[in-house]
């Protein structure tokens, strides 16, 4: 197969001017200076508008009486590709299955959202949230209480029948 090579002509010294290109660049700069549809935000005074399908850190849904909705079925640790969920199931005083330990290591998490997708009782969710600064690494292992305290909105899963999902 013959290789075609595009030959670019090198501007001859002294015969080319960069003025036009410089002006074009400045034009772009000034255009954005006055563009009403600007993309920079004055964070944190202004908050970004996240997609409803944004997948951030987790939260656990709770029942009205404050119990976690999780039934400790073990599907999320099974499906988790990053192996970041630790779950120990147990029996509560009413004989129901509940999570004795539920921990998500948000550092290991790859935010694929499969835990939310697989959850049969819609307990664990990834959230529309991105502010996760902490002073220690260990604070990134979210335990059950912390997961239940999260208040951010939950991610809307992609619906195959509604491809654009908007």
């Amino acid at each position: 197969m013959a290789v075609t090579v595009k030959v670019m002509r090198r501007p001859e010294p002294g015969r080319s001017s960069y003025l036009r290109a410089a002006l074009r660049g400045m034009g772009l700069t000034f255009k954005h200076l006055v563009n009403p549809n600007k993309v920079t935000l004055e964070y944190p005074e202004e908050q970004p508008d996240l997609s409803p399908r944004w997948r951030g850190t987790h939260r656990m849904e709770v029942h009205a009486d404050g119990r976690p909705k999780c039934v400790a079925c073990g599907l999320c640790p099974t499906v988790c590709p990053a192996n970041c969920i630790r779950l120990v199931g147990g029996e509560d005083d009413q004989g129901n299955r509940y999570p004795v330990v539920y921990e998500v290591d948000e550092f290991r998490c790859i935010f694929c959202g499969m835990c939310q997708e697989v959850c049969p009782v819609e307990a664990i969710h990834v959230g529309v949230h991105f502010e996760n600064a902490e002073y220690t690494r260990s604070r990134f292992v979210y335990d059950l209480d912390r997961l239940m305290d999260q208040q951010h909105p939950t991610t809307r899963l992609w619906d195959p029948s509604d491809r654009k999902s908007e």
């Binding site: 039934v71 400790a72 079925c73 073990g74 599907l75 099974t78 199931g89 147990g90 029996e91 004989g95 129901n96 299955r97 049969p120 009782v121």
Partner: protein, 536 residues
């Protein structure tokens, strides 16, 4: 199954493949021979078949309607289809009926992952259910013993009822009511307490209706690793599987071996596994002077032990019948190499056997340790009482070489072995009686090593490692084998197989011959079964 001579066979075609089976074989078993598993609930190879689950229906050419393959005997020239359109459609229909009232609570059901209804519905069921009607509700019932009953999940296969009737022969379970109100129950408040094999109904329940209280909500079935093993609960040597996770034994399940335990095991053995998971383990070799011990490595410990072995005086040893054949053989070899001496073991004995009436080969034996027969075979003597204590007075005050292997010496005082010139303690757990030991060497238990046990009828059965040993703990045969080999200047056994073959008492047997099902020692070598006893 009817007894038949090999000459009495029939040849038939199942799913296009020809197969020859003994006369009296059912179609379901014949189909398994050609590699087809016909779905079934009520049929269980260890029980009678009432043919009521209607899931194993297959088509026989020229038969007017589908037949239940679990009770239909194979006949010459039959052409059977298990996967043709008609039986598949029929099974799809039957499965739909099963799901009509079955709660879809798989997330909280312990059976999830090993549930036959899940499997069959996934393999052959309808993609979408049509049930719109409310499901009937029975709720949860405590059957006593180790069993809890979730009535909603029951598929009425009655395996549990038949197990209690035919095998346990203590018919405490029955079907009450009829039609779609029918449910398994006991006689009102009477439970399963006092029966000794009821754990098996949890195993044979194809769905999550009967669950073990011990295992309830503990682990998910798909997370467990299964390792073939032998039950250490008594000298019966039931074939079991260790179900493990997180380096802990989570539960025991029987493994089929028609020569030893059939499909069953007793509750005593089933629930006695916590000792395997004990956390207080010796993890590194300790070398001491009788007062103070310090941790060291294996090489240093064994080198130092080798130097002190000779000339330390007469040898006496205490072993535990929970050790494997290989370990006991290594102790025997060491004692013999040091000029011979008395080896004793202590074992717990139950007042009576607990036989399984419907399967007489199986009983919870009087000896509550798995390997007393190997110990006796190797010329070791039983001392102490039926609770496994006492009888060690001459050993506590022994002045020569004292070897303790496996026995925890829980009943012995801290000054045990004080007078010994060399006191070697090979064990799993730190114990007060080992505080004067010159060498404390960590060894593994049966779940952490490969090895074999010799059961009450002198059948050698192998087990496989299921857990990671803690720290530097090593199998007893490996430790003692290295010591002996070093002393004799020969090659040390590095595999349990080699250690086993070096034991004279098992001559003629190899791991290959023992296999997964076990093999008996030659008749001439076996001791009479009731020669047990010994000094108290």
């Amino acid at each position: 199954m009817a007894e038949s001579s090999p000459a009495e066979t029939v040849t038939l075609t199942i799913d296009g493949r020809q197969v020859t089976v003994p006369r009296g074989t059912t179609l379901l078993q014949a189909a398994e021979r050609v590699g087809t598993r016909v779905p079934h609930y009520c049929y269980h190879p260890g029980l009678s078949a009432p043919a009521m689950c209607r899931l194993c229906l297959v088509e026989i050419e020229k038969a007017p309607k589908l037949v239940p393959s679990c009770i239909t005997q194979a006949a010459d020239g039959q052409v059977v289809h298990t996967q043709s359109e008609e039986p598949l459609a029929m099974r799809r229909g039957v499965l739909e009926f099963y799901l009509q009232n079955h709660p879809l609570d798989c997330p909280i059901c312990d059976q999830s992952g090993e549930c036959k209804l899940q499997d069959y519905a996934h393999a052959e069921g309808r993609v979408h259910g049509r049930g719109r009607e409310p499901k009937r509700v029975f709720g949860r019932d405590d059957f006593g013993g180790d069993v809890v009953f979730y009535g909603d999940r029951c598929v009425m296969c009655t395996r549990c009822v038949r197990f209690m009737n035919e095998i346990e022969q203590d018919p405490r379970l029955t079907v009450v009511e009829r039609g779609d109100r029918s449910i398994i129950d006991t006689f009102f408040e009477e439970g399963l307490e006092g029966t000794h094999y009821h754990g098996n109904i949890v195993d044979i329940c194809p769905v999550g209706a009967l669950l073990s209280k011990d295992f309830l909500f503990k682990q998910r079935a798909w997370d467990l690793d299964h390792t073939p093993s032998v039950c250490p609960g008594c000298s019966q040597g039931c074939n079991i599987e260790l179900h493990t996770r997180d380096n802990l034994v989570q539960r025991l399940r029987p493994r089929v071996n028609l020569d030893v335990n059939g499909h069953w095991m007793c509750d005593h053995g089933r629930l006695d596994y916590e000792w395997i998971n004990r956390g207080d383990r010796v993890e590194v070799p300790l070398v001491g002077d009788g007062r103070e011990a310090r941790a060291t490595g294996w090489r240093a410990a064994l080198t130092s032990l080798l130097e002190r072995l000779d000339g330390a005086g007469p040898v006496r040893a205490v072993v535990s019948p929970r050790l494997a054949n290989e370990d006991l053989g290594a102790v025997r070899a060491l004692v013999d190499a040091l000029g011979g001496g008395e080896i004793v073991y202590r074992s717990r004995r139950a007042p009576a056997e607990v036989p399984l009436k419907g399967f007489p080969k199986l009983a919870r034996r009087r000896d509550l340790e798995p390997n007393v027969n190997a110990a006796r075979l190797l010329g070791m003597e039983r001392v102490g009482g039926d609770d496994g204590t006492g009888g060690l007075a001459p050993f506590a005050a022994h002045g020569g070489v004292l070897i303790v292997a496996g026995d925890e010496l829980a009943d012995q005082p801290p000054d045990f072995g004080e007078r010994a010139r060399l006191y070697v303690y090979l064990g799993q757990h730190p114990t007060a009686a080992a505080s004067r030991a010159h060498f404390v060497l960590p060894i593994t238990n049966f779940a952490e090593q490969e090895g074999s046990f010799t059961n009450h009828e002198h059948r050698v059965q192998r087990f496989w490692p299921a857990l990671e040993p803690p720290g530097a703990a090593r199998p007893g045969w490996l430790v003692l084998g290295a010591l002996l080999a070093e002393r004799a200047g020969e090659a040390a056994p590095t595999r349990a197989e080699v250690a086993f073959e070096r034991i004279g008492a098992f001559e003629g047997l190899t791991y290959e011959r023992v296999g997964t099902g076990g093999a008996p020692i030659g008749e001439d070598r076996a001791l009479p079964a009731e020669a047990a006893g010994g000094r108290a």
